[in-house]
């Protein structure tokens, strides 16, 4: 027991979900204990239910039209703003990551720096991905033919279990950079950085519902998300350690042919990503336009 005449008593944060731009508790009223690597109690986190998952999907769907309809430039501005806000809260997140992953302050700081830079990386992709994966196709006829990438819709993301912050951002940012909206299931053991990320997102001009963060038992909430008919894709990163679970979820996802990103082992989340976490959630639309032929014998415009 500390000597309270010298130390000021801190105000504990009540961790809430981040859904539709607001911070609700779980509708089930349940919480579960989150401990650090030594077993010391850190906080109670909401234990989300299938209904929370359902509500998050509704919020994500509602936000999709506006977010995918925003200009790529605007999305880039917002993602950069997230980086700006995060930079300001570095100290907070260094503490949270150190606690969550049992790291020293200096190792945690390296991770937080890398996370901020990861947002900047993806901020710079929003208005370039179309130029890299899209283009005109030289079809053998009088047609202008253009292929362009479009966001697939609502993406369920099971965040990595171990890398509670850098890994989290590395799976969430590429989803929303291209215009998708996300329902994110935080790491079961270390959900707090993800829930705190909601505070950063809420102050970054990110429209409510673009990212929704749920905490709880991964198996319990992943199942209704994988089966949900209004979810277009699912990233199974957080089911990586459990082959049985990953397979189950992939089977459930097949009911409406969700695009599935299977878990891949990642040794080093700080390595520069490629483009596959963005292209996994992009559809390609190819449009044909007649150009009218310009024959030598009179025009056909």
């Amino acid at each position: 027991m500390s000597d309270r005449t010298n130390e000021r008593l801190s105000v504990f944060k009540t961790y809430k979900l981040y859904v539709g731009g607001k911070f609700p508790r779980s509708e089930s009223g349940r919480v579960y204990e989150v401990t650090d690597s030594q077993g010391k109690w850190l906080a109670n986190a909401p234990q989300s239910s299938r209904k929370d998952a359902r509500d998050a999907v509704v919020a994500a769907r509602k936000a999709f039209g506006g977010w995918s309809g925003a200009t790529a430039y605007n999305r880039g501005q917002v993602l950069y703003r997230v980086a700006e806000m995060l930079e300001g809260r570095k100290a907070q997140f260094v503490r949270e990551v150190a606690d969550a992953e049992g790291l020293s302050k200096s190792k945690a700081a390296v991770i937080v720096d890398a996370t901020i830079d990861r947002w900047v990386w993806y901020a710079g992709w929003t208005d370039k991905i179309a130029q890299v994966v899209g283009g005109g196709n030289p079809v053998a006829g009088p047609y202008f033919n253009l292929s362009s990438p479009e966001p697939t819709g609502v993406v369920a993301v099971l965040a990595p279990q171990e890398s509670s912050f850098l890994g989290l951002v590395s799976v969430v940012a590429p989803v929303i950079a291209t215009g998708n909206t996300a329902v994110v299931v935080a790491s079961e053991r270390s959900p707090l950085p993800a829930l705190s990320l909601g505070e950063v997102l809420a102050t970054s001009d990110l429209p409510g519902g673009v990212v929704n963060v749920l905490s709880g038992r991964t198996g319990e909430i992943a199942a209704p998300l994988a089966a949900h008919q209004d979810v277009n894709a699912i990233d199974l990163a957080g089911a990586g350690a459990d082959d049985g679970l990953a397979k189950e979820l992939e089977i459930a996802a097949a009911d409406n042919l969700k695009r599935v990103l299977r878990p891949q082992p990642v040794d080093d989340w700080s390595a520069t990503p490629g483009t596959d976490r963005m292209t996994a959630f992009l559809e390609t639309k190819t449009v044909w336009h007649p150009t009218g032929s310009l024959g030598a014998s009179g025009s056909a415009y």
Partner: protein
């Protein structure tokens, strides 16, 4: 306002709803009495102490005295850029990106101040600098910032290398925007730069230098050398410059091409134009009129890609010209700092003289000249919006770039003829197509020899969209993924 088809100059400017003066305040920008050159992170005098003055073309008031760079200064600046290149190109792309993002953000923060400054130094309306120039400047830095650490996705192989020191010479028509088009891709790819702004518009580049300092950009990465044509020539010819980028007149562009011949310098040029704005008989007329007006009167027509030739289908010529003249009568010419001004001042006395001479020639050659009633202020450099009708390809005003608010109207009978006339020029920068028929847009666009084609719109720019010309409008592209190529060793 009656729509009397028979009289062509009926506009009586007084109306029931008179707009009161709505001046943007000058107080937001603090213009010092004098500015130096910006070399290696410091403002310094020219080695020989030479200075020149920059004036506001709307009032002829002197805005500031500016150091004039000579050969010694060019040499020192290139040396500073060379020195800085080693570290700058070795930085991880993600770090270079963050410098450029900082610069973009500061430009956004100081956007109003920079817009007022640009309007004062250039003469263009505040509405344009505020709503068009400055947002594009910031957007350009944002866009290229994002490429700095993604170059191996750009389609130029893995880990493409920068060229070294870039010597960049820019014109006076969009001073800060042309600076952004040059500096952003150069820095993102790892080059360092020495940039010479135009002699009539040095100020926004010098404020940009201050922004580089605010952003903590390492010294020597950006160097700004105000001066005249000789400064530019010295820069372009300097043996330690690896890359030359020039935007300006075709005549000077050719000179530069000769200068770098036989060297290893890479060159891109963005030169003049005589853009054809083609209006078909099924065009959405009211929007086409807006497009024509925008095409030739935006920035007082001092735009390389201006739609300076209107090619209208003969069957709708009268109807279109009536609508156009009626619309021109609503243009407001005057104080560029007034938020309701549509047409500002011509950038300089020299440019005004050039426009005047070409317009006189147009009249002498028999084209019919028309302007809406327009009161020109007593001081400053002004030219009323002007139409020439009954113009043919043989007229000077159909061939020579006037670079002013002067539209030459020609007709065509069929799409084939429109295409032939549009292409019948040594230039090839831009063109416009107005029609409701999608297949015609695509067919005509296919055949036009121009680097930028606008369909049912005009003068639209975006940092993601490559811009540049065919033929004597220059070579190389600025903007987009394509715009990286000029600054990479590929």
């Amino acid at each position: 306002m009656t729509t009397d088809k028979t009289t062509d100059n009926t506009n009586n400017r007084s109306s029931a709803f008179e707009y009161a003066p709505a001046p943007e305040s000058r107080a937001i920008v603090d213009i010092a009495p004098s500015y130096g050159l910006f070399i290696d992170g410091e403002f310094t005098e020219a080695a020989d102490g030479k200075v020149f003055k920059t004036v506001s073309p709307a009032s002829e008031e002197v805005l500031a005295e500016v150091a004039q760079a000579g050969p010694e200064d060019v040499d020192r600046a290139v040396g500073a850029a060379r020195k800085a290149f080693e570290k700058w190109s070795a930085l991880p792309g993600s770090e270079r990106a963050k410098y450029l993002f900082r610069i973009a953000r500061i430009i956004q923060e100081r956007g109003r101040e920079l817009a007022v400054l640009e309007t004062l130094d250039n003469g263009k309306p505040i509405r344009e600098t505020r709503d068009a120039d400055l947002p594009l400047v910031a957007a350009h830095f944002f866009y290229y910032a994002g490429w700095a650490d993604k170059l191996d996705h750009a389609g130029f192989g893995s880990a493409p290398r920068p060229l070294g020191v870039a010597g960049q010479v820019i014109p006076w028509n969009f001073p800060l925007l042309m600076l952004a088009w040059k500096i952003a891709p150069a820095l993102a790819t790892g080059n360092t730069v020495v940039l010479k702004p135009a002699e009539t518009t040095p100020l926004s580049a010098l404020f940009f230098a201050d922004i580089c300092r605010q952003a903590g950009l390492p010294r020597g990465v950006v160097n700004i050398l105000p001066g005249y044509g000789d400064t530019g020539a010295a820069l372009v010819a300097h043996r330690d410059v690896n890359k030359v980028a020039f935007t300006g007149s075709t005549a000077v562009g050719k000179q530069i091409a000769r200068t770098v011949a036989g060297s290893r310098k890479k060159l891109t040029l963005e030169l003049g134009g005589k853009g054809a704005n083609i209006v078909f008989d099924d065009a959405p007329i009211d929007q086409a009129v807006e497009g024509i007006v925008n095409g030739i009167f935006f920035n007082q027509g001092q735009v390389c890609c201006a739609g300076s030739r209107l090619l209208v289908q003969e069957s709708i010529q009268d109807e279109l010209l009536d609508s156009l003249k009626r619309r021109l009568s609503t243009l407001r010419l005057g104080d560029p700092l007034d938020k309701n001004t549509d047409i500002g001042a011509i950038n300089s006395e020299e440019q005004l003289a050039r426009i005047t001479a070409l317009v006189e020639q147009g009249e002498a050659e028999g084209a019919e000249r028309w302007s809406p009633a327009c009161e020109l202020p007593s001081s400053g450099y002004w030219f009323a919006p002007t139409l020439f009708t009954n113009v043919t390809q043989a007229h000077t005003v159909a061939r020579d770039e006037i670079f002013g608010p002067v539209l030459s109207v020609l007709t065509f009978r069929t799409p084939d003829e429109a295409v032939a006339k549009a292409n019948n020029t040594p230039y090839g920068l831009s063109a416009g197509i107005w029609t409701e028929k999608g297949s015609r847009i695509l067919a005509v666009a296919n055949k036009l020899r121009a680097g930028v084609i606008w369909s049912n719109t005009f003068n639209k720019f975006d940092p993601t969209s490559p811009f540049g010309g065919y033929k004597e409008s220059g070579f190389g592209r600025e903007g987009g993924r394509h715009g990286l190529e000029a600054y990479l060793d590929v």
